[in-house]
């Protein structure tokens, strides 16, 4: 009887019996052939690459084309559309005057998807993408909205999506963590800090938390041995530690010691595998040409996209990129376009690259941020200085690969890109769908904490968005 069968038969609640620590031991011991997880059905995706765009990208400038808005330009948003929607205190005092999308749009590919001229590379791969234009959240401020987008609940403390996924799936890679986070390096102080609870493990064991791969001489904290300690001495030290720990194990009988020996060995392997992963010198020139000039600059979003593909090749389950600074309250023509230039070519290149390598079929790629932006201009609406405030009632994300239909658009907003007109997709449904693609039934995937069975999709009924499944 294998573990999966056993778990299914007993319907056992993972957390209640601290299975996490057992799994941790097991996966560390390298017990081959045991699926370290809880698959409920056939998985279409083996891994996720989540391209998180922090700050709230404007659907009106990027994807949700509303040419009809021109005739409303500068007029007040009708109450029938607004329906009492809250505003942030940044614009709640001002008139809500309509600012039509300022970017030009084209139809792309056979699917004819509408994508802004600000994202020409994304447009060029539109036939591989599935746009969801009817995303909905209920949070209007960044930290709660991003916390909800990534953990299912607006208050910090729950496990992140990636932590749930690595908890459920375990890792096929013995030399790298299951869940890796990459953050674009940017010089300006961010208005939206990227809290580590966005990739935290919450009440799940900490081994499931995302490990941040840093753009520094220590890509993982404490990875680098100190100056003057060569690798062969480190090896000797670890041999000594292992031998003495085994003696201690024989004396005390504590199985935790065996685990510790294995973890120290994995640490040693990581000291080789992470720098190897991080070193792009074995990538041909053509790769950098594909991902664009910024990909030559370590720490850039583009370079991180190449790393994401390398991590996918190495079997890492959940790879999450963060690109900050999409909070465009002003100056869309300079500010928003800057973030588009950072991300457009590399995001599209990642899709092309995965596809060329046969990895897109079983890699689920998600692009999106915590909410959208409102149709009213913030500041003087007809000035180039104008921007947009936060908007929770509709926003656009795209997905690709991993069992998602390619070349479709799901859901639609009203004429104002204000309310969802068809097929709303709340954040929970996105999570349920992504878990489904990973072969996990979100309703059965629970962890008991403080007396409650928690799940990523929370207490509201969540549904898999079947229409987008390939």
């Amino acid at each position: 009887m294998n573990r999966r069968l056993f778990l299914n038969q007993t319907g056992v609640n993972l957390g209640a019996i601290a299975l996490g620590s057992l799994l941790a031991r097991d996966s560390a011991s390298g017990a081959a052939g045991l699926p370290a997880g809880l698959s409920h059905r056939v998985a279409r995706a083996k891994r996720v690459i989540f391209l998180t765009q922090s700050g709230g990208p404007s659907q009106l400038e990027l994807f949700d084309h509303k040419p009809g808005l021109m005739k409303w330009a500068g007029t007040e948003l009708p109450d029938s559309v607004r329906q009492g929607q809250r505003l942030t205190t940044m614009t709640s005092g001002q008139k809500q005057l309509i600012l039509p999308g300022i970017a030009k749009f084209s139809r792309w590919g056979e699917s004819g998807a509408t994508v802004s001229e600000w994202l020409p590379h994304t447009g060029a791969v539109a036939d591989d993408l599935c746009f969801i234009k009817s995303m909905v959240t209920d949070q209007i401020n960044h930290a709660p909205a991003m916390t909800k987008f990534l953990t299912g609940h607006q208050l910090p403390g729950r496990p992140s999506f990636g932590a749930w996924a690595s908890y459920g799936l375990g890792s096929p890679n013995r030399n790298l963590p299951d869940y890796i986070v990459l953050i674009s390096r940017m010089k300006r102080p961010s208005d939206q800090p990227l809290y580590d609870h966005y990739w935290g493990s919450g009440f799940l064991p900490s081994r499931y938390q995302g490990v941040k791969l840093r753009n520094s001489k220590d890509p993982v904290l404490y990875l680098r041995d100190p100056d003057g300690l060569p690798r062969e001495l480190r090896r000797g030290m670890l041999d000594g530690i292992g031998e003495l720990n085994r003696m201690r194990h024989d004396a005390t009988g504590d199985p935790e010691i065996t685990t510790r020996i294995q973890q120290y060995e994995m640490a040693f392997r990581m000291q080789a595998s992470v720098p190897e992963l991080n070193d792009l010198s074995d990538e041909p020139e053509s790769v950098f040409e594909l991902y664009g000039p910024d990909s030559r600059r370590p720490g850039s979003y583009a370079a991180n996209c190449i790393l994401a593909r390398r991590l996918a090749e190495r079997g890492v389950r959940f790879i999450q990129l963060f690109h900050p600074d999409w909070d465009h309250h002003s100056r869309l023509p300079s500010w928003c376009t800057a973030r588009c230039r950072d991300t457009d070519q590399p995001s599209a290149a990642l899709i092309t690259d995965l596809k060329n390598r046969g990895l897109l079929d079983d890699t689920l790629v998600i692009w999106g941020g915590e909410f959208g932006r409102g149709v009213a201009g913030q500041g003087q609406w007809d000035s180039p200085e104008a921007g947009r405030d936060h908007h929770p009632r509709c926003f656009t994300i795209w997905m690709a690969g991993g069992g998602v239909k390619a070349g479709i658009t799901h859901g639609a907003t009203d004429d104002f890109s204000y309310n969802v007109a068809e097929n709303p997709v709340p954040v929970y449904d996105l999570h349920a769908t992504a878990l489904h693609l990973l072969g996990i039934d979100h309703e059965r995937f629970t962890h008991r904490f403080q007396g409650l069975d928690y799940r990523l999709t929370g207490v509201e009924p969540a549904q898999v968005v079947r229409e987008i499944l390939a």
């Binding site: 205190t89 953050i183 010089k187 000797g236 950098f288 900050p324």
Partner: protein, 1028 residues
């Protein structure tokens, strides 16, 4: 069956229910509250429990009268004595998917054979009802053996029932080490271990217990528990994550534990010290407990929404810490399992709803207490003393540097060339644009824009590294007018002005695809338009990746050239196989302002040359042409000296150390003044509290007044008016939960796990106690001792159960892998903070001072910067402050101290620590500077007495000597290291130069480095980080 399955099966068979089952099997009669109620709660209450909104079929099984009433048509859910006529039993047995309970779509697992049997027997035995065990007031149970120690009496009774014996006592050194870690979080001194090994009598044990309980470090150890529960942090947590100065509260906690303040008093002051008659500042300070929640100052957020979050956080924290109740559930709906209505929740909420706060964060998070810490002066004096030791070193380094300067100046004067220029023009080999501008390189290295004139553009200028310069310290951009530009000005845009939004300087080595970015320390220009933030003007804003600001000279004469100078953060040393690319981004909002003509230059001069636009000191020297050095104008000489000193690395290092110490001294002095501590204070006019529909902050339902949980312990309204009343209710002798929960916390501190494993949940979904009678006995003892925590601790650590060996035989391990029976002492990894404290103490680095402003232990560079893109920089504490206990480490909520690899996160209250075992821990302990520095200090000791080196290390790190087999291993690795370092003394020097320790002499370095390897090896042993 695989071994894993077997383990899992064994684990399942050890679930608490089964133990209870076997226990009841012996005594006959099913126990409702321990055996049946948990099943009903888990499988039935979700739809047939307290929450009316989710109730199905109008049936509730959480109340006896409802469960046994006639449902009509002769149906009764539970008919005492007759399982076969009870609908509950029929539905459990049913094979019809529409009938069976729990229904398949509920995702609640069906009852297994054991559970079915319990339910059937319970009904057959008459379905006697009762309450959940934890909601009944604890009654002191009789001791099974009045002559035995109470703890042992209960534990051994249970063991006897399982046919098990307790383990023999642990070796004396292990016992003392265990005790020292548990009571103080620090290891015993080698001397104390030796003394106790010589006389391991009970009297000596009692004396050791008293010594450790009386140690000021005891209060620190308990405080770490309490800080996690209190979600204590030095920052807000959200958005800007602004700093707060609530740390005097932390010192209040340490004092309270060291003074052994009774727990009911401790509770009262933290809940309502401000309301006590004639409240002292310390009593008001205590109430900071309820202000340690995260605060959100995010722009655009409604402060009232935040305020509601804070009130909710207080209620939930109180529920978890004092009562072991998951009150958070009832924020949105009546509890699905425990008898707590949503309305009850908001009556508790009302106690905290009228705090004189307005939901703001940062420095506006009133109410505040103005408070001066009595423990800050010590830190100031310590830093002043440290500075005094630095000053002579700086002066000596300066004197040496000045002597070198005099010689340097002589040679400069002798070799000066006429027409010396600090800046060399850079001749590009390629100049391209992103959006279509044609860039023409002219013979004098200027670049002229021609052809298309797009709205925005980026210029990329590439050239070989200028190897004619020994180094590049900065570069210069000259923006030049030209006749082909609008009005002969600076650009071809409509206005003739230019806007430069960002610049980058990239280095690419030949044959490599990736580039390296050279950081810039600053930028200056001959003219900048006056600009507020996020507008175009300042050249410094071209360094921040933000297209909404940048450099323009608008307002100056645009027919004249303008110049910007950039200083590199680190000098760049040109290499013949490298090329440089300058990228000029021109991405302003309106655009049409691309530079028309420009030239790039570089210099190797440091200091004012790359920080200003005047002629450089060396240019002025060349112009002055003095015949001898002493003829140089004093002002110029000073400028030349300042520039020279920048390259004197020994002096710069000393100076930087002193500057940092001075900066920290300034911070400490500020911390020694009046501080704003966030505390509780009541609004003059209380707010009207409401039930919040579905927990939504602005969905106000019915109004509620203050009140307590009637199902837990009803109290009349006149006794539940203030926070004082609330605290008194919590610690009332008849309260069923608080004493049990607190006794369980104490047990967890001493055994690594509570008697109730779910420390945070004593409700129906929590686990049953492993030793219910022992828990109740301890709870009653706690109350009757006057809530004397120290008494309880003393009692437990003097038991044989506490002192027994933690070794586990394979049989025992199979039978009881989680050690629920306590046939052995627990063996578990120390919390991360204790591992650090242990390294400091074992090495002798520890600075044992109590209290005061937070300190900053070593942490890898750049961690804060990454989160906030540079807004905050972490500067490790200098001097003795570096070696303070982890309790005092600055806690930034968005980035907890990195060396605490699996600690509580301090976002919300946490009362049970996770203990994980991952490669990231291993890396931390192998490479953290604190541990390496401790290894270095230990190495110095071992190297001083090499014959006893291994013994010195093991006595300090493991509190014992190594046996010969172990010693063979450490000697082998020591020899390996020594052999290496004798051949590579420079590596030895590098490895042994760590933290604030002075470098060893070159002669001693190999030996010290080898001992350091050995010490680090021992510090990384499982035993070194484990409480055995």
């Amino acid at each position: 069956m695989s071994s894993l399955c077997r383990r899992l099966f064994l684990l399942l068979s050890l679930l608490p229910g089964l133990w209870a089952f076997s226990a009841s099997g012996q005594e006959g009669g099913v126990n409702f509250s321990r055996e049946v109620l948990p099943i009903l709660a888990d499988r039935c209450f979700h739809c047939h429990g307290p929450d009316a909104s989710h109730r199905k079929a109008d049936l509730r099984l959480d109340e006896e009268s409802e469960a046994k009433r006639d449902l009509g048509g002769g149906l009764v859910a539970i008919l005492p004595g007759k399982p076969e006529d009870s609908e509950v039993w029929k539905r459990i047995l049913s094979s019809d998917p529409d009938e069976v309970m729990p229904p398949p779509d509920s995702h609640r697992k069906p009852l297994d054979a054991r559970e079915r049997d319990l339910v059937r027997r319970w009904i057959a035995e008459g379905a006697r009802w009762g309450r959940h065990w934890a909601f009944e007031r604890p009654v002191r149970p009789p001791l099974p053996d009045p002559s035995a120690h109470p703890v042992d009496a209960f534990v051994q009774k249970r063991l006897a029932g399982e046919n098990l014996l307790p383990s023999p006592p642990a070796p004396p050194a292990t016992q003392l080490r265990r005790l020292a870690f548990d009571l103080t979080g620090l290891p015993p001194s080698p001397e104390a271990v030796t003394a106790y090994e010589r006389d391991p009598s009970d009297a000596a044990w009692q004396a050791a217990v008293e010594t450790l309980l009386a140690s000021p470090h005891h209060g620190e150890r308990l405080a770490m528990w309490w800080l996690d529960a209190a979600r204590y942090s030095d920052t807000d947590g959200y958005q800007g994550d602004a700093e707060r100065t609530n740390w005097p509260w932390r010192d209040w906690v340490v004092r309270a534990f060291n003074d052994n303040v009774p727990f009911d008093r401790f509770t009262l002051e933290q809940f309502a010290g401000d309301l006590l008659p004639g409240a002292t500042p310390e009593q008001i300070l205590a109430t900071a407990f309820h202000r340690h929640h995260m605060t959100n100052g995010e722009g655009g957020r409604d402060p009232e929404e935040s305020r509601i979050d804070y009130v909710i956080d207080r209620v939930n924290t109180m529920g978890t810490v004092w009562m072991g109740l998951t009150l958070g559930c009832t924020q949105c709906h009546t509890h699905k399992f425990d008898p707590i209505e949503q309305r009850d929740y908001y009556r508790l909420f009302a106690f905290f709803d009228s705090i004189d706060e307005d939901g703001k964060a940062g420095t506006a998070a009133k109410p505040y207490l103005k408070y001066r810490s009595p423990q800050a002066d010590r830190a100031v004096k310590e830093m002043e003393a440290h500075l005094a030791t630095l000053q002579p070193r700086v002066a000596a380094a300066r004197a040496a540097a000045e002597a070198r300067f005099a010689r340097h100046l002589d040679s400069q004067v002798a070799s000066q060339a006429t027409g010396y220029r600090a800046w060399r023009p850079l001749t590009p080999t390629a100049a391209t644009s992103a959006e279509g501008t044609t860039l023409r390189i002219e013979p004098d290295a200027t670049i002229q824009a021609t052809g298309p004139n797009p709205r925005q553009d980026d210029y990329r200028i590439t050239l070989p590294a200028p190897t004619d310069l020994p180094r590049v310290t900065g570069w210069r951009l000259e923006v030049l007018p030209h006749d082909s530009h609008t009005g002969g000005k600076l650009s071809r845009g409509k206005t003739g002005e230019f806007i430069l939004t960002n610049v980058k300087l990239l280095v690419r080595r030949k044959g490599q695809s990736q580039v390296r970015e050279l950081e810039m320390a600053g930028a200056v220009a001959d003219y900048e338009k006056e600009a507020k933030t996020r507008a175009y003007g300042k050249v410094r804003d071209t360094l921040d990746d933000d297209p909404r600001n940048g450099w323009t000279t608008e307002g100056a004469d645009a027919t004249k050239p303008h110049t910007a100078v950039y200083e590199l953060a680190e000098p760049y040393r040109p290499s013949p196989d490298e090329e440089l690319t300058f990228v000029l981004f021109q991405r302003s909002t309106i655009g049409d302002a691309n530079i028309g003509r420009f030239r790039l230059s570089a210099t190797d001069e440091a200091g004012e040359t790359v920080r200003g636009l005047k002629p450089s000191p060396l240019e002025d020297l060349a112009a002055a042409r003095p015949a001898k050095a002493d003829m140089i104008d004093p002002a110029l000489r000073k400028r030349l000296l300042d520039q020279f000193l920048l390259d004197e690395s020994a002096y710069q290092t000393e100076l930087a150390t002193q500057n940092e110490a001075n900066r920290q001294l300034g911070e400490l002095r500020k911390a020694a003044g009046d501080l704003n501590v966030m505390v509780l204070a009541e609004k003059a006019e209380p707010r009207q509290s409401h039930v919040l529909v579905r927990g939504v902050w602005d969905a106000k339902g019915e109004t509620v007044s203050r009140g307590v949980l009637p199902e837990i312990l009803p109290w009349p309204d006149e006794k539940t008016r203030t926070r004082l009343d609330l605290a008194r209710w919590l610690t009332a002798p008849e309260h069923p939960l608080t004493a049990r929960v607190v006794a369980n916390h104490v047990w967890q501190l001493l055994f690594g796990a509570g008697l109730v494993r779910t420390t945070e949940d004593f409700g129906l979904q929590g686990e049953m106690p492993t030793h219910p009678e022992l828990l109740d006995w301890l709870a009653v003892e706690l109350v009757e001792s006057g809530w004397d925590l120290r008494h309880l601790i003393r009692l437990i650590v003097t038991s044989d159960t506490y002192r027994q060996s933690s070794d586990a035989s394979p049989d025992l391990l199979e039978r009881d892998p989680e050690n629920r029976l306590l046939a052995r002492a627990p063996r578990f990894r120390l919390p991360a903070w204790m591992i650090r404290d242990n390294a400091l103490a074992a090495s002798g680095l520890l600075n044992p001072a109590l209290g005061g402003p937070p300190v900053k232990p070593w942490q890898p560079e750049g961690v804060w910067e990454e989160i906030f893109m540079g807004r905050y920089t972490y500067q490790p504490s200098v001097g003795p402050a570096q070696y303070r206990r982890t309790l005092y480490a600055f806690w930034r909520r968005s980035s907890a101290p990195t060396f605490l690899f699996d600690s509580a996160q301090r976002r919300v209250c946490e009362v049970r620590q996770s203990r994980t075992n991952t490669p990231l821990h291993a890396l931390t302990l192998l490479n953290d500077t604190t541990l390496l520095e401790a290894a270095r200090v230990l190495a110095d000791r071992a190297a001083a007495e090499p014959a006893r080196g291994h013994a010195i290390l093991s006595r300090h790190i493991l509190s014992r000597d190594l046996d010969p087999a172990e010693r063979a291993v450490t000697e082998r690795e020591h020899q390996r290291a020594l052999d290496h370092y004798r051949v590579h003394p420079e590596a030895a020097l590098a490895f042994a130069t760590v933290g604030q320790q002075p470098s060893p002499t070159p002669e001693s370095a190999p030996a010290i480095a080898a001992w350091m390897v050995t010490a680090s090896l021992m510090l990384n042993l499982d035993e070194a980080m484990t409480r055995e």
